[in-house]
């Protein structure tokens, strides 16, 4: 499944929900399911401090592909991280660097990635892309 296929799959999943609360119920479930980042990896250098909530992001390269794990102190933030990781993890650095995360807009969650939200998610995506750029030669 390509990165774009994954985005389309998420868009389809969200089409099932006709109101905001149902959408958030799903995101909260995703947040509860998200495999937690290894406890010993929740260090300050992996911390992305937001005004509202904090995010921890770890990345490794396995067989030329970027693997992201993350955690957040707020469950909705965590659920959205789950979506971002589903799309961006296990992809080559090149696809991550070039990824246009249009699904966030389509499913109506763009506010969480706006600079005004200050929940660490925008910084997280930026960090994921930066990691991809730094690992371009490892693909």
């Amino acid at each position: 499944m390509t990165l774009e296929d994954k985005q389309q799959e998420i868009i389809q999943e969200f089409e099932m929900f006709d109101d905001w609360m149902a959408k958030y119920e799903y995101i909260i479930d995703l947040g509860k399911e998200l495999p937690l980042i290894d406890k010993n990896k929740k260090t300050n250098d992996r911390l992305i401090r937001g005004c509202q909530s904090n995010v921890w992001l770890d990345s490794t390269v396995v067989d030329g592909k970027l693997i992201f794990t993350a955690d957040a102190d707020a469950i909705i933030t965590k659920g959205i991280i789950g979506l971002l990781i589903r799309v961006l993890s296990n992809e080559t650095p090149e696809s991550v660097a070039k990824a246009d995360l249009h699904f966030i807009n389509t499913i109506g969650l763009h506010e969480h990635l706006s600079p005004t939200r200050a929940n660490g998610l925008l910084s997280m995506v930026q960090k994921m892309k930066m990691t991809a750029l730094l690992n371009l030669d490892k693909a």
């Binding site: 958030y24 909530s53 102190d73 929940n119």
Partner: protein, 411 residues
């Protein structure tokens, strides 16, 4: 306006004057409980903004022409309206600023110039960052000492500890009138007397009190009182610093520029008189005029009835929230008003705030620019509902049901 001419307080009628309250958010009737962050604006203020830019727009204090004089008259009339509202002795004591933060920075710089190494500034543990950081900067600049009076777990200032920290070296006490996070009302009149007894001055941060109660700066006997226009139903970008005339006279100007001068040569400049000495550059003319309109609007209200109504609303919300398992009210001072802050065990405030938003309810979540206070309570933040006189009991009921629904979803 005398007491006799005040209109009876009827919330339904008040609400009609605030068009922003009549809107759907995510297809739900907006419930605006973020009044601690900013207030909505009554129609008279909105009309005044429109009128100013449609008709009176001109620079003030310098024009020979009709419009400039008209704008100057309106701007100075607003100053007098505000003077009367807070019962200041003279209009020269009303300095227009950008807001509370600007007012505090003005005092920190300008009054700070009169201080010397070893002098002390005393604040409290419940201050907003705006009433912490300017003093820290001043302390660094002039080698002063910043002292912090502690609070108890209810969120009340510990007066005995405050007394211990107050001494002959204390030159300024800077204290919030009402805590933006906890709703605690500080006994500012008592604190002013204590400060004056050791020869210190007192600055009262009125950002959260001016919109909720009648203010009398002379009775309070504060040396400085600061607030923001946007929290008191006026525009953003305008605020007020009240200062006692004798003190303001002694203080050097904060910023240099037009309007604040009397005579400029390349060798020497003499400064204008109060209040203009502290108002360099073209001010926020529309802001000043329309803030005046906001105070005219408030002058017609019985603020004691308003305060009582808001307190009942907050108490009602707090009592209902208190019944939820795992929910803790942060800030349980005996004297508090119009703010209810809470945390729920195992649930991040941001999550509750996000779900409330999707139910059309605006609250604030996070540290409320009081990080040291969050550290004291050992929490990352709170959910804060802050009320104004246009809020209703029905809105509180919907809010409580929405909080319950949110908690159930997040558990």
């Amino acid at each position: 306006m005398t007491e006799g001419t005040k209109k009876p307080f009827i919330v339904r009628e008040i609400r009609q004057q605030f068009p922003a309250l009549r809107q759907l958010i995510y297809n739900k009737n907006l419930i605006y409980f973020d009044n601690g962050a900013t207030s909505q604006k009554p129609q008279v203020v909105l009309d005044a903004i429109n009128m100013y830019y449609s008709k009176d727009n001109a620079n003030i204090h310098r024009g020979v022409h009709f419009m400039s004089q008209q704008a100057t008259t309106e701007y100075e009339k607003a100053r007098v309206t505000i003077q009367n509202y807070i019962h200041a002795k003279k209009s020269e004591e009303i300095i227009f600023t950008k807001g509370t933060t600007d007012g505090i920075n003005l005092v920190a710089f300008s009054y700070g110039e009169l201080l010397s190494a070893g002098d002390e500034i005393l604040i409290t543990a419940m201050e907003h960052h705006s009433n912490i950081v300017p003093w820290q900067m001043l302390c660094q600049r002039k080698n002063l000492v910043l002292r912090v009076a502690p609070i108890n777990k209810k969120g009340e200032l510990i007066i005995e500890e405050f007394d211990k920290l107050l001494n002959s070296k204390t030159k300024l006490v800077a204290v919030t009138h009402i805590s933006n996070t906890l709703g605690t009302i500080n006994p500012v009149k008592e604190l002013a007397a204590k400060a004056h007894a050791v020869g210190a001055k007192i600055l009262v941060d009125g950002a959260q009190s001016i919109q909720h109660m009648s203010i009398d700066v002379v009775d309070m006997d504060c040396d400085f009182f600061v607030f923001s226009g946007h929290k008191v139903f006026g525009p953003t970008g305008i605020g007020v610093l009240y200062g006692k005339e004798a003190l303001l006279d002694k203080m050097p100007p904060y910023q240099g520029g037009g309007d604040m001068i009397s005579r400029v040569t390349f060798e020497h400049t003499t400064y204008n008189e109060l209040p203009f000495k502290f108002e360099a550059g073209t001010p926020h003319i529309a802001g000043g005029i329309c803030l005046g309109k906001a105070f005219e609007f408030l002058s017609e209200l019985d603020m004691d009835a308003v305060q009582k109504y808001e307190k009942e609303l907050a108490d009602y919300a707090q009592d209902m929230l208190d019944t939820f398992e795992g929910l803790d009210i942060i800030g349980e001072a005996k004297k508090k008003t119009s703010v209810v802050s809470f945390v729920v065990e195992g649930i991040h405030p941001f999550d509750i705030g996000t779900l409330l938003d999707k139910q059309g309810i605006a609250v604030r979540t996070g540290h409320h620019c009081t990080q040291p206070l969050m550290d004291f309570f050992q929490i990352p933040g709170t959910v804060r509902a802050s009320f104004a006189f246009y809020n209703t009991r029905e809105e509180v009921d919907i809010f409580i049901a929405a909080v319950e629904k949110s908690i159930n979803m997040l558990k």
